[in-house]
């Protein structure tokens, strides 16, 4: 703490070079601030990183698809001119159905494999959900209003939220207010017959969530995803050339081009406080760096409890932080394959898209049951991509990579991941083998990233993609905790910009952008 600073003083120091940290850095630098980004790892990207997992085989270690980042953000930061290329856009979604039948939900070949009745119901349902998602975009992309203040900004924001919903018209508004608090299981049961369709649509509601389809609040998580995709624009599910890491490399270039400095391999030990405001950070090396504002893209628990320390906060606030539920339940499975995987009934085009392994809602719910008691699912559900089908550069010629989100795999496995890991991999492979006979034989290497591994590798408490469950009681003005939901914190000069803030995780970048704008507002006429 007492080591004199040799560094020049920065307007803003950002902790963590994940996508949100980098978006925040780029936005601040473009706003004329001097910005330093400090990243603990050797490379930028956080959980949006591409790395080798078997010699010669590379994979997006965290998120493996880009579908939530607003097109307008990509444009403003000129990511494509900073080297971001696409190996696939508007990717299709295929539900894996037992017996090799198929159900495609991709935009272009919509509804193949559905009964006329379900097809009809689906188009009505999809259109309605799109309307709801569009109405919610402002709510998900803006800064959540504070409650109980007399500030006109907050009141207007609340009114705007109300108006967005009111604009839907009586009938849609009533339906939104009804289903908004419902579970996705009931919603889908109300609309469809096909178990495969319900399973596929239900999986999107629980991916990355601490929920099963029967948990109330899963319509909210589904709308979160749909509103995100709606805000992202028309390009849909996309795969960047070189994996998700390419997005952060481009973001880093954009930030640097705008004048930000990025230092990797520079883990922050603590946030410095002087006279009741954040005054900079101290690195684990002992080096001390001054800053007007400190912006943390680390999760709230890490930021407040580890980097800042409870003694700078009042007990009520610390209690709320301790109560944030941030234990991940999603694992990542990476397979190196010596040939292209063959999923029965799935075309080559389908293989270039997203495959969902969730044959029915009951199947997902049963998989979730295990997680409630600290076990991994004996028959897990999965979101599967074969990145090499679109981007051969990720593997040696003719060989392939399979990347799957595997649920549920709880952070705190009762038996411990030491003994659980291999059995969890086997459970996942059994599931895959059922839809892709012979897959096992083609595996040359495998890696399972459990939430515990993600905590260790990416420094997210609990290994939770969203830095905290997405649920009504951790949402909007109560995310991550009341009093810090507007990216400011109880400590002057300290801001949050990570997925722990509104609106949450998924490679979206909105939290980073919103935080940057709050920082710019907080000290408008700083040097």
């Amino acid at each position: 703490m007492t080591i004199a600073s040799t560094q020049a003083r920065f307007d803003c120091v950002i902790i963590g070079a994940g996508h949100n940290g980098l978006v925040c850095a780029a936005t601040l630098a473009r706003g004329g601030r001097t910005v330093l980004v400090l990243e603990a790892a050797a490379q930028v990207g956080g959980a949006a990183v591409t790395r080798e997992f078997v010699p010669g085989f590379r994979v997006s270690a965290g998120a493996h698809l880009l579908h939530l980042m607003p097109a307008e953000l990509l444009r403003t930061l000129k990511l494509e001119s900073h080297g971001l290329e696409w190996s696939a856009r508007a990717m299709s979604t295929t539900a894996l159905v037992p017996g090799g039948a198929r159900l495609s939900l991709g935009a272009e070949e919509a509804l193949r494999g559905l009964s006329p009745e379900d097809a009809e119901a689906y188009s009505v349902y999809a259109a309605r959900m799109r309307r709801f998602a569009a109405a919610l975009v402002p709510m998900f992309s803006g800064v959540p209003p504070r409650l109980g203040t007399t500030a006109w900004g907050d009141r207007m924001a609340l009114l705007r939220l109300g108006w967005q919903v009111r604009k839907l018209g009586k009938r849609d508004m009533r339906e939104l207010l009804r289903i908004g608090g419902m579970n996705v299981y009931d919603l889908l049961e109300e609309n469809f017959h096909s178990a495969a369709l319900k399973g596929a649509l239900g999986l999107d509601a629980v991916l990355g969530a601490n929920f099963g389809p029967r948990s109330p609040g899963t319509v909210l998580t589904l709308l979160y995803r749909l509103a995100g995709e709606c805000g992202a624009g028309a390009s849909g599910l996309s795969q960047p050339k070189g994996g998700l890491g390419a997005v952060c490399d481009a973001l880093a270039k954009a930030a640097a081009a705008a004048g930000a400095t990025i230092r990797t391999g520079a883990p922050v030990a603590s946030i410095r406080v002087e006279g009741d405001r954040a005054s900079g950070v101290v690195l684990e090396s002992g080096e001390s760096i001054d800053a007007l504002s400190v912006i943390s893209s680390a999760d709230p628990k890490t930021t407040f409890l580890r980097l800042l320390g409870p003694r700078h906060l009042d007990t009520g606030f610390v209690r709320r932080v301790n109560h944030i539920r941030s234990r991940g339940l999603a694992a990542k499975l990476h397979l190196a394959l010596n040939r292209v995987p063959v999923f029965s009934g799935v075309s080559e085009a389908g293989l270039r898209g997203r495959l969902l392994l969730a044959p029915s809602l009951q199947h997902i719910e049963r998989a979730y049951n295990h997680a409630k008691y600290g076990e991994f699912s004996s028959a897990p559900v999965m979101e599967i991509t074969v990145p090499t089908a679109n981007d051969p550069s990720l593997a040696p010629a003719g060989q392939h990579v399979l990347s799957a989100i595997v649920q549920y795999a709880p952070y705190a496995l009762k038996e411990g991941w030491q003994s659980g890991r291999q059995r969890c991999i086997d459970a996942a492979l059994d599931g895959l083998e059922r839809y892709a006979p012979g897959l096992r034989a083609s595996i040359v290497g495998a890696e399972l990233l459990t939430p515990a591994d993600m905590e260790a590798e990416f420094g997210m408490t609990g290994g939770h993609w969203h830095h905290g469950d997405l649920a009504f009681d951790q949402f909007l003005m109560v995310r991550p905790v009341p009093g810090a939901a507007q990216y400011r914190t109880p400590l002057d000069g300290l801001f949050l910009c990570g997925a722990g803030c509104h609106p949450g995780g998924g490679v979206m970048g909105i939290a980073g952008r919103n935080a940057a704008q709050e920082v710019l507002k907080a000290n408008p006429n700083s040097p």
Binding site: R166, R178, D186
Partner: protein, 537 residues
């Protein structure tokens, strides 16, 4: 008889379908405002699910609902129920027995309770004060809303806007931090909510009980914190959250209501099942009984749940399609069973000290939240819980009038029990197997229990539906989930007790604020009727 009925019918103002507590409450208010009201009940006895019945010798069973707390005090006062024989005696305690012996006792004496909790965890004893303060704060916020019509947020009618502003004001009045607490409280799971206060499993398990009673949700399902609150909203003699026994069983409540109703000039006809609600040119005109008799009245108020009312007692052609779609979507799920047991004497519970008052209230044997959640998992798979959550009481300890000398009556509420079993319909054998599961669960904690059983009435959701007429035997006439509360209950746009047919109203627990023997829906429906008639309440 028919002639006589027709004669009275000729001069009726309102017909109420169903003599459950809400139907009777509505009837009382209307009769007291000078309306000529006829209440029609399918069964030969009144009371719906609030009844006392003699099904075995001289034992009186509260054979559906079994304890009293939620019945609104203003209703008890206005309708002078004590004058008509209602007497509610508070519990003296409660307890949860632990699997390996040992127990957590609950006493109404606050200091005694704190000492007891600190036996299990000093920290939890401290937390208990914070917990009860926060829960009571939520109760105080919600209580005034129970006896009001929920506003329609999509409407610009002055009344609705006014009511919305009222809600907004009250909410804003909580202050910033409390508003956040309220937002979270209404949407959390009971398990997460309790985790924020307590560390001891037994303490959490005991309080979590009321978050699942009657609902098709587990303690880890978001929204169950509200259900927990719903069971706290009552009070006896101004002791908030207190529960008690109605002297003579739950039937005493509906008997008192019936007497109060008749004293103000109302007529009740039992054994008069309504087969159809009659509608002409979009207006309710009366009802037709199963025997073909038709009774005319300009107002028809249904105490039945919305499915029974609109899907089974009316013509689809008389109702808007969107409304019908929403009624079909209304979730009414059977998740609870009930055992009523006549005992030859008082069962011993070794884990409870002899003579402790904590057996003179609600007793439980589920000592972890995980057990409750697993019980729920069984229900999801279409079978009754292998280790069910039970809420067990022996009212005869406090009200000896219910049983012959020296004998006892035990009421056992069971969560979870599905309406439809995965392996085919209910039959006698399955009902017995279900009963045995419950009896064995109790016997694990009471060695002499089985030997004391003289008679046991076993009621599955299917039985409750068939006897009481509650769809799927759901005790709340509809799930208490976020999508079915306030302005969404029972159907968005129709949460103000008025059916889409002129002259027709709903007064059952399917309407705001929902179930429990509360009476609020009946009172609110009556107020809506009187307002439409331009009369004061």
């Amino acid at each position: 008889m028919i002639g006589a009925a027709a004669k009275t019918a000729a001069s009726l103002d309102a017909i109420i379908v169903g003599a459950g507590h809400n139907g009777l409450v509505a009837a009382c208010y209307l009769a007291r405002s000078g309306l000529r009201v006829l209440v029609l009940e399918r069964q030969p006895f009144i009371g719906g699910a609030a009844v006392s019945r003699r099904l075995y010798q001289d034992f009186t069973y509260s054979n559906c609902s079994y304890v009293c707390s939620l019945l609104r005090p203003e209703i008890i006062r206005t309708l002078e129920l004590p004058k008509y024989g209602l007497q509610v005696i508070p519990y003296e305690g409660g307890c949860t027995m632990m699997q390996g012996g040992g127990h957590l006792a609950l006493y109404d004496n606050h200091d005694a309770l704190r000492r007891e909790i600190s036996r299990h965890s000093k920290r939890d004893a401290e937390a208990y004060d914070r917990y009860s303060r926060d829960v009571m704060r939520q109760c105080r916020f919600i209580k005034p809303l129970l006896m009001r019509e929920p506003p329609d947020p999509t409407s610009f009618k002055p009344r609705d806007v006014q009511e919305l502003l009222y809600l907004g004001k009250r909410f804003h009045g909580l202050g910033e931090q409390r508003m956040y607490d309220t937002l979270r409280f209404w949407t959390m799971s009971a398990a997460d909510f309790l985790d924020e206060y307590f560390e001891s499993e037994i303490v959490k398990a005991h309080f979590a009980g009321s978050s699942i009673i009657g609902t098709a949700l587990g303690p880890r399902s978001p929204g169950t914190a509200y259900v927990l609150l719903h069971h706290y909203m009552g009070d006896i003699d101004d002791t908030v959250g207190a529960w008690g026994f109605a002297r003579g069983g739950m039937g005493a409540i509906t008997q008192a209501l019936g007497a109060s109703f008749e004293a103000s000039g109302g007529t009740i006809r039992s054994a008069a099942p309504v087969s159809k609600i009659l509608v002409r040119n979009g207006r309710a005109t009366g009802v037709a009984l199963a025997d073909g008799e038709e009774i005319r009245a300009p107002l028809v108020i249904s105490n039945l749940d919305v499915r029974r009312t609109f899907l089974e007692s009316m013509d689809a052609k008389d109702l808007p399609d969107e409304f019908l779609r929403q009624v079909k979507n209304f979730k009414i799920r059977g998740s609870s069973g009930k055992l009523n047991i006549a005992l030859d004497g008082l069962p011993r519970f070794p884990s409870i000290p002899e003579g402790s008052p904590c057996t003179r209230g609600d007793m439980h044997v589920t000592d972890t939240i995980e057990m409750m959640e697993r019980a729920y998992d069984d229900w999801k798979d279409g079978r009754w819980s292998r280790a069910p959550y039970i809420d067990m009481l022996i009212p005869s300890q406090i009200d000896p009038t219910m049983v012959p000398d020296g004998k006892h009556y035990m009421s056992v509420f069971v969560q979870y029990c599905p309406y439809e079993l995965a392996d085919g319909p209910w039959d006698a054998a399955k009902r017995k197997a279900f009963g045995d599961t419950v009896i064995n669960t109790i016997a694990q904690h009471s060695p002499n229990f089985k030997d004391l059983i003289l008679h046991a009435e076993i009621r599955t959701p299917w039985d409750i539906e068939n006897e009481v007429g509650l769809t799927e035997g759901n005790i709340f006439q509809g799930e208490l989930t976020m999508d079915q509360l306030l302005f969404n209950r029972p159907v968005p746009g129709y949460a103000q007790y008025r059916a889409p047919v002129r002259g027709m109203y709903m007064c059952g627990s399917s309407t705001h604020p929902g179930g429990g023997v509360m009476g609020a829906p009946g009172a609110n429906a009556a107020r809506a009727v009187l307002r439409d008639l331009g009369r004061a309440h």
